[in-house]
């Protein structure tokens, strides 16, 4: 086993990996930028090294700096978390060259799956169904238009190197193409330093279902069943759950088999995820494979009891998988809500800033993977994720009830968060019935929310009025001349303990 692991990440995911290392008795090395000196991942690690200025391009994304810290600290392995360098094959190459084990798949697997066009070809060759679209990045606007007309609007523009909804745009009609293409390219350029995009037919009313897989260096694979991630806004997942209400045991077995075949095709090692779109007829299409630990991995951990991060570390150290397929069972139901520093009542605008107070939820079946604490200032430079709240229940109904209860316990002040949004989703009839697709939030939910009558307007106004009343009174008192408050009695001073003269 490794004697020391460097975590090339920040925030909640760095803390998550540090927790696994702590439990395994492996010392950790954190890296941090100038704004992250106070961050939890620095405080939680055994060692921490400054790697540069706040922008990720000058710190968390600089391969040379991270390799340098690994060598100097004697770390034998690097866990990249998700985002930053997690799916960067150049980083994987460099680790290999420096004889530092990257906890994740090979550069070859990353390259194949990382270029979505190559990934499509690879899995299609293995007989896996894919969504109609181009196989190659498209360069000119004329070509984009021609292909879009060929496969028919609506179409999706996607960054070839993309992920996490960045560089991705839905184009409903020809008129929107120009501005969408410019934005997709510009976002792709700044997020991945690669502005190439490809085009795909947009499947209407799709559900997003993905399969978690694990592979070791000895050619063994297991799948840890599915997660459904159809609750998205701006094509970004915000709520995930396992099991999916639409997946039957037969479908699960078929999807699991296909996911393992895809992984085997690139001799995949470690934890990975095959994403699928499922249409109204429950036919599924391969979307992409994520060659990293996923944000939403905790829901799988909650229903299978398997610690995915520990498995990642063990297989990276050359051990065989500790589980066989027949050992994998989904028990109960788990839901995850991603809590972001964003204002749900202002179109989810990012809302970085100081967390002035914090109360985290607890009680049965609740897990909070957080990267913050009270008085932490959320920087503007990175993803605005605060924590991932996960609730487990014996069935979906109990999981929803627990999540609703936990969200109501969660208090974050100073910054706006998506907690209120999640409460509203947990109360939504369609969500409760499992009746939704990936357009649910944008198309159905907000419309229904707009028509909902709010119950406690009186209490809201009463409380605000009391606050104003007390502030005004305090203000009025402060403006009174000093004598009005009366002079302080010297006699009182002299009788205070510790102030009395001896003898």
């Amino acid at each position: 086993m490794f004697k020391k692991i460097l975590i090339a990440n920040r925030g909640e995911i760095a803390v998550r990996v540090e927790r696994a290392c702590r439990e395994m008795g492996i010392p950790t090395v954190a890296v941090y930028s100038e704004v992250d000196r106070h961050a939890l991942h620095v405080r939680y690690a055994d060692e921490a090294v400054l790697i540069g200025p706040p922008p990720a391009s000058e710190s968390y994304l600089v391969i040379d700096k991270i390799i340098d810290v690994a060598k100097k600290s004697g770390a034998e392995a690097i866990h990249p978390g998700y985002g930053f360098l997690a799916e960067n094959p150049r980083f994987a190459d460099r680790c290999e060259k420096e004889k530092i084990k990257l906890i994740g798949p090979s550069a070859y697997a990353m390259r194949t799956m990382g270029s979505k066009t190559v990934a499509r070809k690879t899995v299609q060759a293995a007989g896996v169904p894919v969504v109609p679209g181009t196989m190659e990045p498209i360069s000119t606007e004329e070509e984009v238009l021609r292909i879009a007309k060929e496969i028919g609007f609506p179409v999706m523009l996607k960054a070839t190197a993309g992920g996490g909804g960045k560089g991705m745009r839905l184009v409903k009609e020809e008129g929107e193409l120009h501005s969408s293409l410019r934005m997709a390219k510009s976002e792709a350029k700044s997020a991945f330093s690669d502005d190439s995009v490809y085009i795909e037919k947009y499947i209407e009313q799709p559900r997003h279902v993905e399969i978690q897989i694990l592979g070791d260096q000895h050619g063994s694979y297991v799948h840890l069943c599915e997660r459904e991630c159809s609750i998205q806004r701006r094509h970004q997942k915000v709520i995930e759950e396992s099991p999916s209400v639409i997946v039957t045991p037969e479908m699960r077995a078929a999807m699991g088999k296909v996911a393992i075949e895809a992984a085997r095709a690139v001799r995949y090692e470690g934890a990975g995820t095959c994403e699928f779109l499922v249409d109204g007829k429950r036919d599924f299409y391969f979307l992409e494979m994520n060659t990293r630990l996923q944000v939403e991995h905790p829901v799988t951990e909650m229903v299978t009891g398997i610690d995915i991060v520990k498995e990642q570390i063990c297989v990276a150290a050359g051990e065989k998988l500790s589980i066989r397929q027949e050992d994998v069972r989904q028990t109960g139901h788990a839901i995850e809500c991603r809590v972001y520093a964003e204002d749900p009542d202002r179109n989810f605008f990012p809302c970085p800033g100081l967390i002035t107070s914090l109360r985290t939820p607890g009680g049965p079946g609740v897990r909070d993977d957080s990267g913050v604490f009270e008085r932490f200032e959320i920087p503007i430079f990175y993803d605005p994720i605060i924590s991932k709240l996960v609730a487990w229940g014996k069935n979906r109904t109990e999981a929803i009830a627990r999540m609703r209860r936990a969200l109501n316990e969660y208090v974050v002040t100073g910054v706006k968060t998506t907690i209120p949004f999640h409460i509203r989703v947990m109360n939504n009839r369609h969500f409760i019935e499992g009746d939704f697709d990936t357009n649910f939030i944008d198309k159905v939910f907000f419309k229904e929310e707009g028509e909902r009558i709010l119950e406690h307007g009186d209490v809201a106004m009463i409380t605000a009025a009391i606050q104003v009343f007390l502030e005004e009174r305090k203000h009025a008192m402060a403006q009174k001349p000093l004598e009005a408050a009366g002079p302080v009695s010297m006699w009182k001073y002299s009788t205070r303990p510790g102030m009395r003269k001896p003898g």
Binding site: K166, S357, I380, T413, P420, H456, D458, M461, I462, T463
Partner: protein
Amino acid sequence: MNYIGTIGEKEVKVAVRETGVARYSVTIDGREHLVDAHHVQSSVWSVLYGDASFEVDVQGKKDEEFEVLIAGDCYKFTLMNEQRKALMRSGGKGAAGKAMVASPMPGKVVKLLVSVGEEVKADQGVIVVEAMKMENELKAAVTGTVKEIFVKEGEVVESGAKLLLVE
């Protein structure tokens, strides 16, 4: 004290009276509510209304918009002193057809889509601001001419910063 509360277009009369330690009588449009209210944590109040217990997160201050969160719902309104409200009524309204485009969050100006003197339509994208790796296209609220631009591409801006003026 007497206040005027404004919810959307609707106005209500609000009166607050202290009746004991952390006890208040609040009358809204003639209906009296008796509550026990404690400011417990940062912006959060614990309110007992009858036997019902509420956690109330109050953001905002007098004369500006309040955003109050209760059980995941957001209530927006303003509260103003009665006298001040009367003063405001007698005063004039601001110039029509002017609209400032301001940054709704701290971030970086990625691209200016218009230049000074250019004609723009309401709802037309005028500037792209990036925050936390997402690009957001901000739109003009009114149809008019770009009168002034206060920022440059690449500039880092605070929340609420003036970006450009359309008139």
